[in-house]
C-alpha cells in the first residue's frame, strides 16, 4: 500500500502539458475579471502565479479548483477536456487546492481530517469507518511529508506549519496530480518555510505539477520553474524563471515601473526630541530588559523571527498585556497603569497584525470605520451629540489623504475592499486621532505591491510630520528600505541594533537566529 502515497508518474511524454488553459474568461455581475487567460503546466514543474490583489489569480485558481464555473475558454487536464462540477469533483479528478486559510477541522484528529470525505470502510457499501485502516493509511501519508506525529493527534495541537503539511498529506491521499498552493508561507516560520520547500521539491521530483501563488517574490524566484504574471485579468508576462527577475515581475504586476518600491525620505534630517522612551521593560516568559528610545520623525524597525516577542512587546507598549518591571515614558511623562485607553490618551496608535479581527468592523462602511475611534473628539455640548457636519468633512479629507480607492465611502462596506485598502482604512482611522506614536505590526502583510508602496508613502509622510514610528515586520527588505534604525529581537530580548548605513541582511538574520542560550537556562 505504498502506491497511493506517491502517484509517481513516469511522465513519458514530458513535453505534453498536464494542465492547459486557453482563453479563460470570467465575469462577475458584468465586470470582467478574467480576460482570455492562458498558460500551461507540465508534470514535475512548479509554476509561480503572481499578480496584485484583484489581478485574477484567485479567480483563475477557483475555476481550476471547481469553486467557480468559467464563462468561456478551455481547460485541458491530462489530455481531456476538464470541467469540474464543484470542489469535490475537482479533487476527485486529481486537483488539490491548499487554501491560504487552511481547510482543516481543529476539533478532529489528523486522520479524520485526511479522510473526512472518504473514510476507509469496514465493509464496502456499509457506512462504518475502519478506524485502524484510517490510522495506518494516515501514518503512511504523514511519513510522505516527514511529519512525525500520531495520526490521532488533534489538529488543534499543531503549529501552522504542521497543519500545512497535513493539507499536503491530504492532497497526496487524494492522489492529486496538480497541487495549488495559495500564499503558503505567510504564516510560517523560516524553518517551517524551508521544510515546505523541501517537500515541494520532493513532490516535483515525483512528477506532481504545482501552482504556487505568492506575494513573496523571493520565494517565487527560489521555488518556481515557470512564472506567470497576471494584471487586471490578463496574462502580462509568462517566462522561465531564468528569464525573469524580481524587478521585472514587479513592473509587470503594477503595469508601471516602480523604480523604487521604497519611496525616498531624507534620512539625514535631524531627529526631534525623544518621544517614546522604554527602559528595562520585562515580563516573565515574554520579554526581558527592553530598552530603546524613538525620536520624533524617526522610523524604528523591529526585526526577528516569528515568536521572537515582537508582537508581544507591541501589546505591552500599547497597554494590552501587563509588564512586571521597567518604565515607559511618552515625551518624558511616565505612562502610569497602562491600558489601551491610557496609551491612546498619551498619543499612541496601534495597527495590529490581524486587521480583519482586531482593527475593523467588516460589515460597516468606510466612513464609520474611520470615525470610530475619534467620535469623542466630535461630540460636544449638552448630551454629547456628534457634530456630523464637522466629522463627515474630516473623514472625507482623511479618506482622500490616505488614498482609499472607493466610489462612495458612506456606502462601500469594508469587507468588500482589498487588503491594501482595508489597511488604509485602519491607518485613516488612527490618523484622525492625530497620534504622535505609531506602533505598526506587519503593516503590509498580505497586501499587494502597489498598495505596499502607498502605505510606505503614508509612513514617510507621518515621519516627515514628526510622528515617531515603530515598525514591526518579518520582511527584512522592507525594514531595510524604510527605517532609520533596525532593532533585532530574539527570545524576547533585543539582540542588536543597526543604524541606517550599517544595515546588512546577513547580520540582521544572524542576530535574529540567536538560540537564546537554551543550555544555560535549562
Amino acid at each position: 500500500m505504498t502506491a497511493p502515497v506517491s502517484p509517481l508518474q513516469a511522465a513519458p511524454e514530458a513535453d505534453q502539458p498536464l494542465l492547459k488553459i486557453e482563453g479563460l474568461c470570467k465575469s462577475f455581475f458584468g465586470v470582467e475579471v478574467l480576460h482570455k487567460v492562458g498558460f500551461s503546466l507540465k508534470a514535475g514543474r512548479v509554476l509561480g502565479l503572481v499578480g496584485e490583489n484583484g489581478s485574477g489569480k484567485s479567480t483563475t485558481m477557483n475555476i481550476i479548483g471547481g469553486v467557480h464555473q468559467k464563462d468561456a475558454g478551455q481547460i485541458q487536464f491530462d489530455g481531456v477536456d476538464y470541467k469540474p462540477k464543484g470542489p469535490r469533483d475537482a479533487a476527485r479528478q486529481g486537483i488539490a487546492f491548499i487554501h491560504q486559510e487552511l481547510n482543516l477541522f481543529r476539533n478532529l484528529s489528523i486522520a479524520e481530517n485526511l479522510f473526512i470525505t472518504e473514510f476507509p470502510k469496514l465493509v464496502p457499501g456499509l457506512p462504518f469507518i475502519d478506524r485502524a485502516a484510517a490510522r495506518k493509511r494516515a501514518a503512511e501519508l504523514l511519513a510522505a511529508v516527514d511529519l512525525d506525529l500520531s495520526p490521532s493527534t488533534l489538529v488543534n495541537k499543531l503549529s501552522q506549519g504542521e497543519r500545512q503539511l497535513v493539507e499536503i498529506a491530504k492532497a497526496l491521499g487524494a492522489k492529486a496530480k496538480v497541487i495549488i498552493f495559495d500564499e503558503p508561507t505567510t504564516s510560517l516560520t523560516t524553518r517551517e518555510t524551508e521544510r515546505l520547500f523541501d517537500i515541494i521539491n520532493r513532490l516535483r521530483a515525483q512528477g506532481i505539477a504545482i501552482i504556487y501563488i505568492s506575494h513573496i517574490l523571493d520565494d517565487v524566484m527560489r521555488i518556481c520553474d515557470d512564472i506567470v504574471v497576471l494584471r487586471d485579468g490578463h496574462v502580462v508576462g509568462s517566462a522561465l524563471k531564468s528569464d525573469m527577475t524580481i524587478e521585472r515581475m514587479i513592473s509587470l504586476m503594477v503595469g508601471r515601473s516602480i523604480d523604487q518600491l521604497f519611496p525616498p525620505r531624507d534620512y539625514s534630517a535631524p531627529k526631534g526630541e525623544p518621544v517614546l522612551e522604554v527602559s528595562g521593560v520585562t515580563q516573565r516568559g515574554t520579554v526581558k530588559d527592553i530598552t530603546f528610545t524613538v525620536r520624533a520623525g524617526e522610523v524604528l524597525g523591529i526585526s526577528g523571527l516569528m515568536g521572537a516577542g515582537r508582537s508581544e512587546l507591541a501589546r505591552i507598549l500599547f497597554g494590552i498585556d501587563p509588564y512586571s518591571s521597567g518604565e515607559i515614558k511618552v515625551s518624558g511623562v511616565p505612562v502610569v497603569a497602562p491600558t489601551p485607553t491610557v496609551c491612546m490618551d498619551h498619543g499612541m496608535a496601534f495597527l495590529t497584525e490581524d486587521r480583519r479581527v482586531e482593527g475593523l468592523m467588516m460589515e460597516a462602511p468606510i466612513d464609520n470605520n474611520i470615525a470610530l475611534s475619534s467620535l469623542q473628539k466630535y461630540a460636544g455640548g449638552l448630551g454629547g451629540f456628534i457634530d456630523h457636519g464637522r466629522l463627515d468633512g474630516d473623514v472625507q479629507k482623511m479618506s482622500a489623504s490616505v488614498q482609499i480607492s472607493a466610489k462612495d465611502i458612506a456606502r462601500t462596506l469594508v469587507k468588500n475592499l482589498s487588503g491594501g485598502n482595508q489597511q488604509k482604512v485602519v491607518i485613516g482611522k488612527w490618523l484622525l486621532r492625530e497620534p504622535k506614536i505609531f506602533i505598526l505590526d506587519e503593516p503590509t502583510r498580505g497586501i499587494d505591491v502597489g498598495a505596499k508602496n502607498e502605505v510606505y508613502k503614508i509612513i514617510n509622510s507621518l515621519a516627515a510630520r514628526g510622528a515617531c514610528i515603530l515598525m514591526i515586520s518579518s520582511e527584512i527588505e522592507e525594514l531595510v528600505g524604510m527605517c532609520d534604525r533596525i532593532m533585532v529581537m530574539a527570545h524576547g530580548e533585543i539582540r542588536a541594533t543597526f543604524d541606517r548605513g550599517g544595515f546588512n541582511r546577513e547580520d540582521i538574520l544572524r542576530a535574529a537566529m540567536w538560540d537564546g542560550n537554551r543550555s544555560t537556562a535549562a
Binding site: 487546492f97 481547510n103 477541522f105 473526512i116 469507518i129
Partner: protein, 326 residues
C-alpha cells in the same frame, strides 16, 4: 506554581457537572433517606429516558451549531396523530410509525433551513407554534389517550429493566455508532467546526444538515412516545417547553452551543443530572415552584463553567517565548 493552579482550576472546570452531581447526591441523600436507594436510582433513569432520547437528537443539531426549539411540539403532534388517527397500534408498530411522523416534522424544519435558508432559530420557533396549533386542532383541544398496548409497554420491564430505559439504551447505542464510526458522524463534527471549510473540503453540507434535523425529529417523536407510555394521556400541555430541559441536558453534558464539540454520552449524563435534581426536590418535599429556579441555576453554572474553561484554556496555551529558570 501559577501553572499548577491553572491546571487545577481547569481540572475542576472540566469536571464541574460531575462535581455538581456528586454534591447534589450527597445533599439530597442527607436530606431524604429514600433518595439513596437502588430503586430510586432506576426510577430517576426511567424518568430521564424521554428527555435523554430527545436530547440525543438535539446533540446532533447542536454539534452543527444549529438549534431546534420545536422538539416539544414535535412530541405533541406525533402523539396526537397517533392517538387520534392511528388508534390501537401495538408498540412494535407504533414506534416506527411515530418515528416516521417525527422524521416528517424534522424534514419540514430541515427543508426550511437548508433550502429556504431561514435561520434555524426562527424556523423552529415557527414550527413550534405551528406544530402545537395543528396538534390542538386534531385533538379538538381534548386529552388524547394512548392505547392500552402502549401503556402496557410503558409499565413493562424486560430482564428487570423498565421498557423506557431499553428504548433509551437502543437510541444511545445507535447514536454513538453513528457519531463515532460513520463518515456522516465525523462530518457532523467537521461542519460544526467550520461549515465553509467543510464545503470546500467537498462535504455535502446541505445533505448532512438536512439529515441532522431529521434525526432530531425522529428522536423527539420517539421520546414523546416513551413519555406518553408513562403518563397515559397527551394533554394540551404534552411536551410543552420540553426544549428547555433538552437543550440544557446537552449543554450540561459538555456540548457546545457553537458547534463541533461534545457528544451524546455527556448529554445522557446531563439528562440524568436534571432528573436527579427534580427527583431530589420531590424527595425532600421542596416547594414545586422552586423547581425551575433550581434547574435554571444549575444550567447557569454549567454554561458559566464552560465559558470560564475556554478562558483558562486560552491562558494556559498562551505561547511562552522565553524559557525562564524557576
Amino acid at each position: 506554581m501559577s501553572g499548577f493552579r491553572g491546571k487545577f482550576s481547569l481540572l475542576v472546570l472540566q469536571n464541574a457537572p460531575l462535581l455538581l452531581f456528586a454534591v447534589l447526591v450527597i445533599v439530597f441523600g442527607l436530606m431524604s433517606d429514600r433518595f439513596l436507594t437502588p430503586i430510586n436510582f432506576v426510577n430517576i433513569v426511567n424518568q430521564a429516558s424521554h428527555i435523554a432520547i430527545i436530547a440525543i437528537g438535539m446533540t446532533f443539531v447542536l454539534l452543527i451549531a444549529g438549534i431546534d426549539l420545536s422538539v416539544g411540539a414535535n412530541m405533541y403532534l406525533s402523539a396526537a396523530i397517533l392517538g387520534v388517527f392511528l388508534v390501537g397500534m401495538p408498540p412494535l408498530v407504533a414506534f416506527p410509525v411515530v418515528a416516521l411522523l417525527g422524521l416528517a416534522f424534522g424534514a419540514v424544519n430541515a427543508f426550511m433551513i437548508t433550502q429556504l435558508r431561514v435561520a434555524a432559530f426562527i424556523t423552529t420557533l415557527a414550527t413550534l407554534f405551528i406544530g402545537r396549533g395543528i396538534a390542538l386542532y386534531f385533538s379538538g383541544n381534548k386529552m388524547v389517550p394512548f392505547s392500552k398496548s402502549v401503556l402496557a409497554f410503558g409499565r413493562a420491564t424486560y430482564l428487570g429493566v423498565p421498557s423506557a430505559i431499553w428504548v433509551f439504551a437502543i437510541v444511545l447505542i445507535i447514536a454513538l455508532v453513528v457519531l463515532k464510526l460513520t463518515t456522516f458522524g465525523r462530518q457532523v463534527y467537521a461542519i460544526g467546526a467550520d461549515p465553509d471549510a467543510a464545503a470546500k473540503a467537498g462535504i455535502n453540507v446541505k445533505r448532512v444538515v438536512f439529515t441532522v434535523y431529521c434525526i432530531c425529529g425522529v428522536c423527539a417523536a420517539v421520546g414523546g412516545l416513551v413519555s406518553g407510555s408513562q403518563v397515559a394521556v397527551a394533554s394540551s400541555t404534552f411536551g410543552f417547553q420540553k426544549e428547555f430541559p433538552v437543550i440544557a441536558a446537552a449543554v450540561l453534558g459538555g456540548t457546545s452551543l457553537f458547534g463541533g464539540r461534545g457528544g451524546v454520552l455527556g448529554t445522557v449524563f446531563g439528562a440524568v443530572l436534571i432528573q436527579t435534581v427534580e427527583n431530589g426536590l420531590v424527595m425532600t418535599n421542596a416547594n414545586p415552584y422552586i423547581y425551575p429556579l433550581v434547574i435554571s441555576v444549575i444550567i447557569f453554572i454549567a454554561v458559566f463553567t464552560d465559558s470560564s474553561r475556554t478562558t483558562v484554556l486560552e491562558r494556559l496555551e498562551r505561547r511562552k517565548i522565553r524559557v525562564e529558570p524557576d
